[in-house]
Amino acid sequence: MSNEAVESATVSTVAGTVAHLGTPRGGLLRSALRMWRTRIGLLCAGVVILVAIVGPLIAPHDPSEFVAAPYAPRGDGLLFGADHLGQDVLSRFLHGGRSILILSVLSTVLGVGGGVLVGLVSAYARNALDDVLMRSMDVVLAFPQLMLALVAMATVGPKGWLIVLTVGLTTLPRVARVIRGAAVPVVERDFVGASETLAEPRLRILAVDVLPNVTGPLVVETTLRLTYAVGLVASLAFLGFAANPNAADWGLMIQENASALTVQPWGTLLPVIAIAVLTVGTGLIGDGLARASSGIDRGRADG
């Protein structure tokens, strides 16, 4: 009761003083950017995203143009040789990033958006609805993400919207769990009670009082989920479920050229490196944000 209150008051004054003297205040992003891991992560992810965006504009050949013999080695104006059909590896690589990025970003948006909604509603409801929502999330969580996606692909066929839907919906429960966990203590704070006494609309309370106070975990979770989505979309393409099986796609390229890895490694290596650098990059950004947000939470006066 008053014990906690007095204690938290004392602690916060002390913490506030020390934080005030120790580290200058700043937003989550700004303090994350002070860390080298975040900067390196941004550089890595930035390079790959840049390649995916401007790649098609600077590609020397059309991705489906036959320019040499299958698995032709480097040389003859082909920087990285030719692939299993004799298409230019570099051009296919430069073209192949867009689809994977668009699909993974869209499915992350879907998964995080839905997850935030379910998580917030669950945390706020604290009744049967909470149980129903979270138990149904548990059911989805019980299946491996890739397996659910494969079942959907095998049933309906590899369509772009289906990839987004399955990856998004399997991401949703994971986000929902994290956001619910972060929101439960916020919901119990008195400023939510203050809005309750005014009988503010519930959605408004979620949007104004709860959501802005879980942005730290939300941002971190988003980068983490983006990392997984990139991996998942690439895996699906590798397993033969790309939206367009003839188009250039990093996941697809790995599968097509893997059998000639010893003869012509570039067709496999280039997309592998790109995906690895991208996921390491987003992972580092997420890590930096996580550290920054926990640091901010520690210094904040309302713990």
Binding site: A5, T10, D302
Partner: protein, 618 residues
């Protein structure tokens, strides 16, 4: 250091016999602190500066100060410890013949718990939840090699338990901390601190979270143990009344310096430092109604401390010379000194006791808020039983009770935050729906609520202006009108317009609570429910907030339900009081009558156990 030297430090002051009193007490202080200075690590900014005091064996020194004054830092220095981000930059802490600040890590570890022990603020957090209490007490003895063998140590543990008035049987020693009440946990903390018979014991607000009755028992135990074992105790507290009832001598800290120290009676009766005087004026008095005076401004934090006397910017008696240099200690009497150059003026200034500002209630009018047969449940358990309560227009009704008495539950139910209830609750004769969502806009506007903890009741992501503005949605006023009302109400609670753009973490606790009050008042309610609104605040801030509430109550003609555990505070603000115990109202009546002639046994006990400043001066 060698075992011999260790014994020199660790030898118990007196095994069981009382401390040598009177003669020699000054010569052989159990602990002697000289010119202690603590800085923010890596800077020259002082957290604590120039602190010197002695504590003779068997005496209790009360170290009083508001949050951020450095009192806990000083307490920890007696154990040779500073928290992260701070360093001890100078001075000495002499216990026996050794300077604790010069000891290496190993010697410090041997010293802590054996020669100097510590009782922390929160007993629940200091006991290991996974260990039985008997094992934890035994561990202290084993680590310090006290007692020859296990049976001897166990016997020592039992003795320690008896000393703190806890059962010493095996069944009790085998309990886990969570199986004890808060008071029992704190007694175990005391037993742990005393079990090695330390020379010095540091108590850091050990009764802050306890009910007055439990607090009175714990204080009694502390007093007895220090006398029996001749231990010197440093009792760190923000509560002057508690210190007055316990300490032999009192030291007052402000902004990292000791501004005054002296015998408790002399200090409370004839304070020489203006800060001490202002603090005393801020403490509510149970015996007579008196307006509380807050201290305007806020204590400077390290790095922002002015040259000269730190209190000068807030001092009414400050003159130019005050800012010239840090004042030296001026001797005012036997072991009584103050760091103020104007002690003569200070001591001549009379203590003015003005009457509280609360207005006259319309007791004959129909009650604005009434409860009859109100029962409140948490799930299937009924926690508040059969409450009958009337709140007259313009009346301030205090609801007093210890933790668990159901007073906050009652307040939340009236505000519509807790809705599982039976019985009738009416506003101007019209029944109120259990949940705020079932009430009309007008009903919601008329009843407003101020929460206990200003650190939790403001959304950290909204500016003050946005927070205060939210209730105006109930009125559907336009944008310009809303802005006008927000700045008007902020002004009403003495915050200027610039506060509207600030965020809560830029405000002090007192400012936050003012914002919370402004939010509750912005749509001009008739009933204001205040739930322990000052319990998280320092005494000088509490005084200012209570004074503000009393003034607002009078000027705006509010009916106020003032929920608190602090009886003296009731005297300063309320007209009537209802005393709650275990979910029932055991006594209700005008404040003066209930305090002076309590009828219920429970009220009498509560009043007896409430610590009073007068305890020191009687």
């Amino acid at each position: 250091m060698s075992a011999e030297e260790l014994d020199d430090v660790a030898a118990p002051a007196a095994s069981g016999s009382a401390a040598p009193s009177g003669a020699g007490a000054d010569v052989a202080a159990a602990v002697s602190v000289r010119d202690l200075r603590v800085e923010v690590a890596g800077t020259r900014l002082d957290i604590v500066d120039g602190v010197s005091f002695d504590i003779p064996p068997g005496e209790v020194l009360g170290l009083v100060g508001e949050s951020g004054s450095g009192k806990t830092t000083v307490g920890l220095c007696l154990l040779g410890h500073v928290r992260r981000g701070a360093t001890i930059a100078g001075g000495s802490v002499i216990v026996g013949s050794r300077d604790i600040l010069q000891l290496d890590a190993l010697s410090l570890r041997r010293l802590r718990g054996r020669t100097v022990s510590y009782v922390p603020q929160d007993p629940a957090a200091s006991l290991n939840p996974a260990l039985r209490i008997g094992a934890q007490l035994l561990e202290v003895l084993t680590v310090h090699g006290v007692g020859d063998d296990r049976p001897a140590r166990t016997e020592r543990v039992r003795e320690a338990m008896r000393e703190v008035a806890l059962p010493d049987d095996d069944a009790f020693l085998r309990r886990y901390p969570h199986q004890l009440s808060g008071g029992q946990q704190q007694r175990v903390g005391l037993a742990m601190a005393f079990v090695c018979r330390p020379r010095v014991i540091v108590l850091d607000e050990p009764t802050t979270g306890l009910d007055v009755t439990t607090q009175a028992h714990v204080l009694q135990t502390v007093r007895e143990l220090t006398q029996i074992h001749g231990a010197a105790a440093l009792y760190v507290s923000h509560d002057l009344a508690v210190v007055a009832s316990l300490a032999d001598r009192v030291a007052v800290m402000y902004a990292g310096r000791l501004v005054e120290q002296g015998p408790a009676a002399a200090l409370f009766e004839d304070a020489g430092h203006p800060y001490t005087r202002r603090l005393l004026a801020a403490v509510p008095d149970l015996r007579q109604p008196r307006a509380l005076e807050g201290i305007p401004g806020r204590a400077p934090s390290p790095g922002h401390r002015p040259s000269g006397c730190s209190f000068a910017p807030r001092c009414l008696l400050a003159i130019d010379e005050c800012t010239a240099a840090v004042p030296d200690e001026v001797v005012l009497g036997p072991v009584h000194s103050a760091r103020c150059i104007r002690t003569d003026v200070v001591r001549r200034s009379a203590r003015v006791a003005s009457m509280p500002a609360s207005g006259t209630p319309l007791v004959d009018a129909a009650p604005v808020l009434a409860a009859s047969g109100l029962r409140i449940r948490y799930g299937p358990v009924e926690v508040v039983h059969d409450i009958d309560l009337q709140l007259a227009p313009r009346e301030c009704l205090a609801v007093v009770g210890e933790s668990g008495s159901g007073k906050t539950t009652l307040a939340r139910t009236i505000a519509g935050l807790h809705s599982t209830r039976d019985g009738e609750l009416t506003l101007d004769g019209t029944p109120l729906a259990p949940s705020s969502r079932g009430r009309s806009r007008e009903e919601r506007r008329r009843v407003q609520y101020v929460f206990q903890n200003p650190y939790g009741s403001l959304n950290p992501r909204l500016t003050v202006g946005d927070s205060v503005r939210r209730p105006l949605r109930l009125l559907s006023v336009d944008d310009a009108e809303a802005r006008r009302r927000v700045s008007a109400i902020l002004e009403r609670v003495s915050l200027d317009g610039s506060y509207a753009r600030r965020y809560p973490d830029q405000l002090s606790g007192g400012e936050r609570q003012r914002v919370a009050i402004a939010r509750a008042l912005v749509c001009e309610p008739e009933v204001l429910i205040c739930d322990e609104v000052t319990s998280a605040l320092d005494v000088s801030v509490q005084a200012a907030v209570v004074d503000l509430l009393a003034e607002l109550q009078r000027d705006l003609g509010l009916s106020m339900l003032f929920v608190t555990h602090n009886l003296p505070l009731v005297r300063a603000i309320a007209h009537r009081v209802a005393v709650m115990q275990q979910g029932r109202i055991v006594e209700t009546g005008p404040v003066a009558k209930v305090v002076d002639e309590p009828q219920a046994e429970y009220t009498r006990r509560l009043l007896e156990d409430t610590p009073q400043i007068e305890a020191a001066t009687d």
